[in-house]
Symmetry: C2
Amino acid sequence: MSDQPNSAHLEGLKTFLRIPSISTLSEHKPDIRRAAEFVRDELRAAGLTGAALIEGEGNPLVFAEWLDAPGKPTLLLYGHYDVQPPDPLEEWISPPFDPAVRGDDIFARGASDDKGQTYILIKAVEGLLRATGRLPVNVKFLIEGEEETGGEHIARYVAAHPDRLKAGAAVICDTEMFAPELPTLCVGLRGIVYGELVVEGVGQDLHSGVYGGAAPNPLQAIAEILCALKDRDGHIRIPGFHDRVVPPSPAERDAWARLPFDEDDYRSREVGARELTGEPEIPLLERLWARPTLEVHGVRGGFVGEGAKTVIPARAVAKISTRLVADQRTEEAERQLKDAVRAVCPRGVSAEFRTIHSAGPSLVNPDNPFIRAAAQAMTQVFGKETVYIRSGGSIPIVGLFDQHLRIPSVMMGFGLPDDRIHSPNEKLHLPNFFRGIQAVSRYLEQVGGLSA
Amino acid sequence: MSDQPNSAHLEGLKTFLRIPSISTLSEHKPDIRRAAEFVRDELRAAGLTGAALIEGEGNPLVFAEWLDAPGKPTLLLYGHYDVQPPDPLEEWISPPFDPAVRGDDIFARGASDDKGQTYILIKAVEGLLRATGRLPVNVKFLIEGEEETGGEHIARYVAAHPDRLKAGAAVICDTEMFAPELPTLCVGLRGIVYGELVVEGVGQDLHSGVYGGAAPNPLQAIAEILCALKDRDGHIRIPGFHDRVVPPSPAERDAWARLPFDEDDYRSREVGARELTGEPEIPLLERLWARPTLEVHGVRGGFVGEGAKTVIPARAVAKISTRLVADQRTEEAERQLKDAVRAVCPRGVSAEFRTIHSAGPSLVNPDNPFIRAAAQAMTQVFGKETVYIRSGGSIPIVGLFDQHLRIPSVMMGFGLPDDRIHSPNEKLHLPNFFRGIQAVSRYLEQVGGLSA
């Protein structure tokens, strides 16, 4: 195995990136299938067995395995071949589906999220199989095509086939490094409860002149509920909501404080805000990674067109979500939120929270042997001590693997914070691509040293 | 002049109501013109002079006059020939532009607002001219066709032609009686400042998982601003906002308390609310007529579609308005609102109120001789003492007549609270139509007894 960039790997990645497999747009269904077939063919060519599309409602899953390492652990390798839409197109320097290398980066939709990282997994396994004819561990690939649209096919499949997917740990290549050159493992994710706050006043829209001062206004009620659920300093005021929140350990807090992180730089460059918000007494990374949030995403109802309409709407709906952290439980959080909404509902209206979807938080113990092995592999390849971070976002597949397969997920990410995933000019840092292949190879070797 | 219903009047009204002169829909431009020409022809046939359309940007005004009563006062008679759209069509029992008499009511779009009431003015003048060959006062008709869309043509015309419109008072037939059979004069209107509350956070939409807990959310900021500007009990918390608010006199309060008004009936039947809102220590009619309000009409920004999107929007805009009461001044109220928005703006965002339109409040002294004469005329025709009410709404033309012509407006309304103006099955109570003609005739005679 060479340490030098392999030009065939780069060409293969470009071929993958040229397929506009946008899962949110139905006109790209043929491209979705082409991308799934590309992954299947790559897995087959890499030397895996049983490479096949798993058809079902939704976009095909791609499955392949290599199980000839008896007595060795099994890893379930996850990635996704679908991508976000590229709009706004005019902001791309080079076309989103015509990958272009500029400097050390390759620019294309999906370069970082997640084709580049999925390809890292495939090429690592292929490299080991080509070099030695075998793998140090058993592997099962499960690559999906609906990650950007909800992943319902994989959710059903994981729930229905725990035996086929049985493994000691999952490896997820869909996250990022904390900073360039800094080997990173993500050990915690926030969960989510997302839904609608439905507020109903009277049976019909009313004229705000004739009835203003007497009629309940559902939009004002939404404002009052939002302000009652969260104060101006970002403290969530839902009774019992923080009871199960586990604070980071002193060691974790110390480690986070040592991360190369400039809060002012983050504020001005990454967020672009004049001032950051949230609970002032909680350090920033802890706010993002280890505290629940409550956010409003949109408010429907009344009049928002050009000009003026003096309406008190009969009804209004706010899209809201709360992010959960360990050890909050989704059902309990949902119930607490529903109860709180009812308790703070103003006069004259009814208010109800209706869940759309939810996913639990996850937190992996870094002392888990699969995590320790990953940290060692990353440190060896990148030449720096691996840092443990969490993410404020939610990756539902981690919760599904935990719930149905009872396995931890090792989140080895090779993206960078400035990869502009979901935005124009998405890119992947090519040194991370090549080192990622090395790091995953090294990881498989490390895990091969563990007992199954 | 007969006290009996005149079937020719009813037939004429039906012809007027058959014209779908919807000013908010451009495909009805030809109908707008037909309605204007109908009014012009009616005024000409009634015996007025100079009946003509006044063309300009927007829908034509209709003007006509009779000035052969030297030494007598002049009245400016106002109405509008345009109507609201009829949707939802399927809820009409009979078609909106095919007037149908059922019981004592005539059903059609515009029956009450405002073709029926405009026709009352025309038929009253026509009746006097036919019966006696002359009028007891001088009159000028000014009938517009944009009342439902902003009335910009008439606003420009009034500002530009104060001499042509010179009069002692205006008569506006576009309001309602407090209760059936109860002669009513409206002596006060609320003003309005309507605009947008623009809140800006960062330069782009952000992922609420990755950034929730640090990034400012303009939608939450709007909620916080709305709650800071008005408390849960409906008290507006804008510094200085109530300084000029003139409470109703003890006599006015007593008169309002004697009005035939059942608050519980109003709540359940007219508003359809489980509970009314607003300042609890202020009686209901005073809240509606003599207190300023602050209402939110809609909120734009973020995601309101089907399903879930975890976005913290870069920017959000709320449509808000405040109703003003005497002696508040629009410019001052606007400034107070702008200052208050800035003062309560939460961390991390900027917030600004931008005015779209405004109109001052108006309050006429019932001791004004033109008002007293109207009360006497109404009392004589309806056989009950005339009550003085106010309206929570705003009629900008009243402010324009006040500002540019320096004349009071006599708001003699013959609509009823259940006329369903702007809604399906709009109707006019026919006894009010015929008595309205008598009342306006009697009023012209009363005013003829005043010195010019």
